[in-house]
Homo-oligomer: 359 residues x 2
């Protein structure tokens, strides 16, 4: 076995600091093909999107090797990638963005690439659209770009983590109804069939994008929250307007939306915001100073599920709203988290350096 070169990086799932993917990228002249092991299972790297990412990274490495003949020719070697999530994949939390970000980040470190996070985000975007954001920590914007082919679509930092560190999030993992009637779904269907989507992209999002960046720079939580909720509504509206319609929100998701509205109404100000990705799980944002009121309500409704160990629930403010005991149904777990840093170096090595296979 020839020498094995390696590097390890972690990347967070969305903003959840305690949910992350750890990836070790390694290469060696002995390896006979590019391979990936994800949570102990062998996966193909042979998809067009992944191959495009690997080609882009190798090209950057080649440029370095051309400038400095003493560098090992890593760009010519096959890659062995080993990746592990520290959370159950069954939770239904989108992990492909974190996975791609950790993969790109680990290979970039292995190749000692000088490219910035924004440059790498362009590569990540080709692998999995939203992965481009996961190259950064703190507050990140994904810019659409001007080019038809999307080559200039990239993520940029709006503000570092230190600018607004007291943004917290509570993820409500919603149990999915596996027995439901199957449905077609996908963003491409929305682009193709929704008559409201084009209006959203051209008129609604650009304005909201600027307001959202301003709300973060100003640390204006009520504005940030309102924009977050409105954009979540608007996204899911265009999904519903697809033909056939796509539904990511279920009755539990809708109940959580109404609960957050009740909470803000009873508080007399906006102290919490919901948002939903392409699935039924809710992410509830709030500021540290309002944690007692926000988690006071959420704990009162969802106290029967796992995930409250991090806080002293005795100290939370009891909700002033009259609750129905059935409102808690449909949520299987809470995850208390906060805005975190982006991909990080790790000393943990997932590749056996004798065999080049997963440990």
């Amino acid at each position: 076995m020839a020498k094995i070169y390696y590097a390890s990086r972690t990347a967070p799932v969305n903003i959840a600091v305690n949910l992350r993917t750890l990836t070790t990228a390694s290469c060696s002249e002995s390896f006979t093909k590019d391979e990936l092991w994800l949570n102990g299972q062998s996966h193909s790297l042979d998809t067009p999107r992944t191959q495009q990412c690997l080609r882009d990274l190798r090209k950057y490495r080649e440029e370095l090797e051309a400038q400095d003949g003493s560098l090992p020719k890593l760009s010519k070697m096959h890659l062995h990638i080993v990746s592990e999530n520290n959370f159950p994949t069954a939770a239904g939390l989108a992990s492909s963005a974190a996975g791609f970000a950790a993969l790109i980040s680990a290979i970039a470190k292995l190749y000692e690439l000088p490219q910035t996070a924004s440059d790498l985000s362009k590569i990540a975007r080709k692998g999995s659209g939203s992965a481009c954001r996961s190259l950064f920590g703190g507050y990140v914007a994904w810019e659409m770009g001007q080019l038809e082919n999307g080559e200039d679509s990239k993520a940029v930092e709006v503000a570092p983590l230190s600018h607004w560190p007291d943004m917290k999030a509570c993820i409500l993992v919603v149990s999915d109804d596996k027995k439901d009637v199957p449905s077609t779904s996908g963003m491409q269907l929305t682009v193709k069939t929704s008559s409201l989507f084009q209006h959203r992209v051209e008129k609604v999002v650009p304005q909201r994008f600027e307001e959202m960046k301003k709300s973060i720079r100003d640390k204006n939580f009520p504005l940030f929250a309102e924009l977050t909720m409105k954009d979540s509504n608007s996204f899911h509206a265009t999904c519903l307007d697809s033909y056939p319609p796509i539904f990511y929100l279920n009755d539990t998701s809708k109940r959580i939306i109404k609960l957050i509205n009740l909470l803000n109404e009873s508080a007399g100000e906006i102290i919490a915001a919901y948002t939903y990705d392409a699935g039924p799980n809710a992410v509830i944002y709030y500021e540290q100073k309002n944690e007692s009121r926000v988690l006071g309500l959420l704990h009162a409704v969802f106290n029967s599920v796992d995930g409250w160990q991090k806080i002293d629930t005795e100290l939370l403010t009891p909700p002033s709203i009259e609750l129905d005991p059935t409102w808690g149904r449909g949520v299987s777990r809470v995850i208390l988290t906060e805005v975190g840093a982006g991909p990080q170096d790790s000393d943990e090595v997932l590749v056996n350096l004798e065999t080049g296979l997963p440990k």
Copy 2:
């Protein structure tokens, strides 16, 4: 007690021929105020919208009385209105449209007004927007009109019932979750807060409106069905895009949508269409010639509920789709119906002609 003048008319709920409101309108010099009894309960006629309708109808009557001095001065007398639905109001079927249409229609008959159904629809629209359509039978379009104040907004007949008599409908009454978190709702919220609504009104609906009328004139069911489903999706999308969002469709409604998609896919053609009003109940349209296949699936899924007595379910085509026994949950009743005639005269009189009170 002075002489009581009276007239009775029925109006259907949406297209459901066997669900109707019966209304007797009466007036007398002895009556001391306008009064309404609905399903045995006294209701106020003192809302601005209702008063506007009564003023308009009395104005038309005054014109008649001015032309012919021998006519009794009904326009000067107070009205007693008695109205009854032949279906349970708890079913959650929108009945206010039928109610207003029957009210307008009964008073117009009492007053012997010469105005056309379209003229009367303008009055009904002021009482309850969609009531304007219920003045007609068959296929009806509600034209938005050009005027800012809506005065020229009215219903027109697209085609009479006889043009396309084999249009059938199956209403799936969806049990509502009364224990749900309360929500704000209403069309005015959508108009005010949805950034997609204006685009729907200005760009999406006008084109679809023309295509829909053409599909009816051509008796083109697949086109009619596609437009119906797309417009239902689009309407509910703008509700979801409201702030706070409005949800009329629940998980049962969504399951029915997916079922109809599965049915059409397995048929290889569009033989059924779903549509949803401001509520979770589904109306499924189909043509008589496809009844066996459409009801074959619906009966297989929803056979445990009431409403199938009208047909011989033994003769239905068994569905070719593998069904899950849990898909039937959440539906409480089916109503098999068809496109019917509009308001009709009735010999039934709900007013006691001695006392002027409900019988």
